[in-house]
């Protein structure tokens, strides 16, 4: 496979560092060569689109321009970053004034910017799933996992991945329920209520673990659940990034995958799956 540009995004260097670390390790094992976009900047998150429509397009666009030298596609782990980059590319395709002002600001030509691909999309392509089955040294069998897609990912690919990992996705109703990650910055109390509802439902449906592909969902579910613990006496449910689950079945060391960076302990789930 030829080299792909990789846009980590702000959270993957901080709050979701285990997503970044596990993704790089797994990509390496599965022969998907990634190169970080040089000098990348914030995509604008939820704030640029709420406050300034111009920046909502130009901030992600600079990253597309920076990724241009590496490959025709850029891999984006965070669904919010992914959406921002994609909308920016779509707008650039028909908005000539935007392309012109961007070219002026960046002092470069803006043409044929790369196509954003979500990391989930890359790792659940049929060829990659086949490779995972081939390389797997362990299996998730026995572990009841709730695939949590959040508000941005309207697919079934986490469930397909769970099958490839030897497990089975739980049938539960809140797979696309919003976790409140996008407003938790200014409204943490509301976000905690939303997280409580989602985790309670997962528990009621018998989940022993939750898997996600979004840094905001993960930070929100893992961290806020930990914060909520004081008020409840119920067992906590560990939240994994899908890249961590792939890594575990490939036999990568759990701490290298960043499982020790979580707030909710993953020990019990790993024991239940027979991985530890």
């Amino acid at each position: 496979m030829s080299e792909l540009a990789y846009y980590p995004g702000c959270l993957n260097h901080t709050a979701s560092r285990e997503y970044d670390e596990s993704l790089r390790l797994v990509a390496d094992k599965l022969d998907i060569p990634l190169r970080e976009v040089p000098d990348w900047n914030c995509c604008g998150g939820n704030s640029a689109s709420s406050l300034d429509i111009g920046l909502a397009y130009t901030l992600p666009a600079r990253n597309l321009v920076q990724a241009h030298t590496i490959s025709k596609e850029v891999v984006v782990p965070c669904p919010i970053c992914y959406e921002n980059l994609l909308e920016s590319k779509q707008e650039l395709a028909h908005n000539e004034a935007l392309a012109a002002s961007l070219a002026e600001a960046l002092d470069t030509e803006v043409r044929d910017v790369p196509e954003p691909l979500s990391a989930l999309q890359i790792f659940t392509a049929e060829t990659v799933l086949e490779k995972i089955r081939l390389y797997a040294r362990k299996s998730l069998s026995g572990l009841k996992v709730a695939a949590y897609y959040g508000c941005r990912q309207k697919t079934e690919s986490l469930d397909q991945l769970l099958l490839a990992l030897g497990g089975e996705g739980l049938n539960w109703p809140y797979r696309n329920e919003c976790c409140g990650g996008r407003i938790s910055g200014g409204n943490d109390k509301i976000a905690k209520t939303m997280v409580g509802r989602i985790v309670d439902m997962a528990r009621e449906c018998g989940a022993e673990a939750i898997v996600t592909a979004c840094p905001l969902c993960h930070a929100n579910l893992d961290l806020r659940q930990f914060q909520l613990r004081r008020d409840q006496n119920t067992p906590l449910i560990p939240v994994f990034y899908f890249t961590q689950l792939i890594g575990l079945t490939l036999g990568i060391d759990p701490s290298a995958l960043g499982l020790n960076k979580h707030f909710v302990s993953t020990e019990r789930a790993l024991t239940s799956a027979g991985i530890k």
Binding site: D39, T58, I183, G186
Partner: protein, 155 residues
């Protein structure tokens, strides 16, 4: 305007994940817009509780794009100075303007109040950093933000 098509079935409000905390529910926001009471909407707290999760859009029998309307209204509220623009968004963009990237502390909103207690656990895990990563090409970032300010003044 597409809000005219709304017949107040209130499915959007039934599905809205933050409806429980809103001063006006999504279908009430649309009703206010139908009645041309936009000022009330611009000052509402509901505007800033929309997570843009798009569940309302998927439930709407007329496919009214309420998430987009909400985003437009947020920008209008900021421009006209109506209501209270969430300080969070301003702080977020100010951080991107200054460093080119945002900090996790900002993105997760752990700056004050009850969240102070989790700062140390986050620092210990390397999830918030004392020295954040930043963009080296400061000139490019400065120009992008200057363009943004010029656009705002033009409107």
């Amino acid at each position: 305007m597409e809000v005219r098509q709304c017949e107040q079935c209130a499915k959007c409000s039934g599905g809205c994940p933050t409806g429980f905390a809103m001063d006006y529910l999504p279908h009430q926001i649309v009703r206010l817009l139908q009645l041309e009471l936009k000022e009330t909407v611009l000052e509402s707290q509901a505007l800033w509780l929309c997570t843009d999760c798009k569940i309302c859009l998927s439930l709407c029998p007329h496919q009214i794009n309420l998430p987009n309307i909400m985003k437009e209204l947020k920008r209008e509220a900021r421009m006209s100075g109506a209501g209270k623009v969430q300080a969070y968004h301003d702080a977020f963009l100010a951080s991107v303007e200054r460093y080119g990237r945002t900090s996790a502390a900002l993105a997760l909103g752990i700056r004050n109040g009850s969240d102070k207690e989790i700062r140390w656990p986050l620092l210990k895990r390397g999830k918030i950093k004392v020295f954040r990563g930043r963009v080296h090409d400061k000139v490019a970032m400065k120009r992008l933000f200057a363009q943004g300010k010029r656009r705002t003044l033009d409107v």
